[in-house]
């Protein structure tokens, strides 16, 4: 039981990261119908930016190493700017083209970011720091330790991941539900033409969507980096899980992305734990096939609900 809870907790933590990146994918898909294959690499790139700030070697110049959370905030600004610029310069020219064209453009971005990162920072994995300890009135937050919660323990970093993920999700919820810009974004996602008629500058909203998505992805990158080591291919696995999570939840549903991510994280961890020789005495299955198992589950879910758990069915006018 302890092991089970332990694995569920770890699953929730990694699942939060999948959920964050899935959220980033969904944010773009909802408003523009684009599946952004470069999402993971954008997150990786911005995480390298954060690493430079924390490490104190900015593009070869020595700078004063910044505190984790200051670097975190600066990275968010950088990510949002990068996302907005990408939308303006690279995506805007192919707007309205067939979906596959845009998908190939994002694959091009994937290749550019991946290889630029290898070029600039090399392929050697770098340790990315977890958020440092903070003491508030005698209670320690973050840092290396683990929190004892009755039947099981949870490491501070896993806790940080979950807290940050929940924070981002709440912030997005408030943004979409209670701010005029959020309302404009929802309107644009549902019907760009009507939104334009209502006086919304659809172009700016799309740019904002990309900025927001890059920002959410960057948070995901900085949260997973301490676990997987910072290196150019670090987001590939995460990206595949995030796609799967987004599809599982429904490509146009932000809450779905989160639920999909958490489910996938838990399923992955449990399958990885309970299919070892110790528990499962068959030779046609094992923990090395946990990704396959997770994908089979997703395909089965899709067969029953073709637009994911929370996705709306797209009705077509004939």
């Amino acid at each position: 039981m302890e092991l089970f809870l332990q694995q569920v907790m770890t699953g929730l933590a990694t699942g939060s990261v999948y959920g964050l990146v899935a959220l980033a994918i969904v944010l773009i898909y909802r408003s523009t119908d684009v599946i952004n294959f470069a999402q993971g690499e954008m997150a990786m790139f911005t995480t390298f930016f954060a690493w430079m700030l924390i490490d104190g070697s900015f593009l070869g110049f020595h700078i004063h190493p910044l505190h984790f959370w200051i670097a975190f905030a600066l990275t968010l600004v950088f990510a949002a700017t990068m996302g907005a610029l990408l939308e303006r310069i690279v995506i805007r020219p192919v707007e309205g083209r067939p979906i596959l064209t845009i998908v190939i453009v994002t694959l091009g971005l994937f290749s550019i970011f991946n290889n630029l990162a290898t070029w600039s920072w090399g392929g050697i994995p770098k340790a990315f720091p977890a958020p440092p300890e903070i003491h508030v009135t005698g209670i320690t937050f973050f840092g290396d330790g683990a929190l004892d919660i009755g039947p099981t323990v949870i490491s501070y970093h896993d806790l940080t991941i979950m807290v940050v993920a929940v924070g981002i999700m709440l912030a997005l919820y408030v943004f979409f539900q209670y701010t005029p810009i959020g309302l404009a974004m929802r309107g644009t996602a549902q019907n760009p033409v009507a939104a334009r008629l209502m006086g919304i500058h659809v172009g700016n909203i799309l740019t904002l969507g990309w900025a927001l998505s890059a920002l959410v992805g960057a948070v995901g990158g900085m949260m997973i980096a301490p676990l997987v080591l910072l290196q150019p291919p670090m987001m590939m696995g995460v990206l595949l899980y995030a796609f799967a999570a987004a599809v599982l939840g429904g490509m146009d549903s932000p809450p779905g992305a989160v639920v999909g991510g958490l489910t996938l994280g838990i399923v992955e961890n449990l399958v990885g734990t309970y299919t070892t020789e110790e528990y499962l005495h068959v030779d046609w299955f094992g923990p090395e096939m946990k990704l396959t198992a997770a994908l089979v589950v997703i395909v089965l879910v899709l067969l029953i609900r073709p637009t994911g758990l929370f996705g709306r069915r797209a009705l077509r006018r004939v």
Partner: protein, 392 residues
């Protein structure tokens, strides 16, 4: 008067093409005295041409599915793997002759494609893309796990077939494999050509453009959609069979996810819903690494990653400036219409906020054709259609 002239011109073009494919590529390097003539095809070039023929087969199949039928597949690497492993196992474990394994690989993979196509009926757009991507991701893991059948991570080594005794001394190994791949690719091209211009091909296109309209015209949508999957997988299986003969080796690593994504890139860059596009895409794709050696020749202070960065950038530029891929570009040039490049160029700067005057209005063909680019060419994706929100 006109018809015979066109026919003669076509005949001439075919003769030139045949000369190039059947004589120049495989044999030009044996000409004495040609020296550093740039169009001489060395042994390595012949191998590259073989690879192009091989990838063209799978690109044709994927284009039938994605370009003509509108179903996205990110999992064709899995189908190539099934074909490749079928051929390799039959040759290695059962001692079949190579020529018998290729069609079996095709039909085996076609069956698998049919089985994948049935559940795929329920999925569209990104959901289908991710479900097929899942297929591509799982394939290497499955191949690794069931090593009793697949020989696990060490893969299967197969001897590439030597030239038959009749041709001994005429063709060396590389040339023989080239002809093998070329002839199969030509047969597959003819098959694809005929499918596209038949009732089946028109049904594919009708379903892509509107499933409901197609249904109203009496086309069985499920039947033709699964058929598209099966045919497409058949092509991929044949490619897998040829792959084993040419490379002589299969392992789970031969068929990773990137491979599947590359196939999709190939057909989009080459041109969706175009036979020529599939072949051009394969050629572009095989020849891209050549840029690498070009850059090395320039002695730029760039790292190993420079060609890949350029590759990514050129993918984006091709998509911006050649909306219908290389085939669309050539089609317009052939019709003496200005290629969409100029139009896209001004659009590009217009859209990022700069206005540039281009001379497109004075180009032959006028702006009439250029101003309605979206009417032409394929609309390959279902999610491209008007979506309505049902709940509001």
């Amino acid at each position: 008067m006109l018809r015979p002239i066109i026919a003669r011109r076509k005949l001439l073009a075919f003769a030139l093409l045949a000369f190039f494919l059947f004589y120049w590529i495989p044999f030009s390097h044996v000409f004495p005295g040609w020296g550093p003539f740039p169009l001489q095809f060395g042994s390595y070039r012949v191998f590259q041409a073989t690879t192009i023929a091989m990838w063209a087969i799978v690109a044709l199949g994927l284009n039938l599915l994605t370009g003509y039928n509108g179903q996205i597949s990110l999992g064709h690497g899995a189908f190539v793997a099934v074909g490749g492993y079928t051929a390799a196992i039959l040759m290695f474990d059962h001692g079949w002759p190579f020529w018998a394994t290729i069609p079996v690989a095709g039909f085996m993979t076609g069956t698998v494609g049919f089985l994948v196509g049935v559940p795929a009926l329920r999925l569209t757009g990104p959901y289908l893309a991710i479900a097929t991507l899942a297929l591509a991701i799982s394939t290497p893991q499955i191949l690794l796990k069931y090593e009793g059948l697949t020989h696990g991570s060490q893969g299967i080594n197969v001897n590439s077939p030597p030239p038959p005794a009749v041709l001994d001394g005429v063709l060396n190994q590389t040339q023989w494999l080239y002809f093998l791949a070329l002839v199969i690719a030509i047969i597959m091209t003819i098959i694809a050509w005929n499918i596209v211009r038949s009732r089946v091909g028109r049904a594919f296109v009708a379903i892509r453009d509107s499933e409901i309209a197609a249904q109203a015209m009496g086309i069985s949508v499920p039947r033709f959609k699964t058929m598209a999957f099966a045919i497409s997988a058949f092509f991929a299986g044949i490619c897998g069979g040829v792959y084993v003969q040419v490379i002589g080796f299969v392992s789970p690593r031969s068929f990773d996810v990137l491979q599947s994504i590359n196939y999709l890139t190939t057909i989009v860059v080459g041109g969706l819903a175009s036979i020529l596009g599939s072949i051009l895409g394969a050629a572009v794709f095989v020849l891209v690494p050549e840029v690498n050696s070009l850059l090395e020749g320039l002695h730029l202070p760039a790292a190993d990653q420079a060609p890949d960065v350029l590759y990514g950038a050129s993918l984006i530029l091709v998509m911006i400036f050649m909306p219908y891929g290389f085939a669309g570009f050539i089609r317009r040039v052939g019709r003496l219409q200005p290629p969409l490049v100029m139009q896209s160029f001004s659009d590009f700067f217009g859209q990022i906020g700069l206005r540039v005057r281009t001379a497109r209005s004075v180009l032959p063909g006028g702006s009439g054709g250029a101003s309605t680019p979206r009417k032409e060419g394929p609309r390959p994706d279902a999610s491209d259609r008007e979506k309505e929100d049902g709940s509001s």
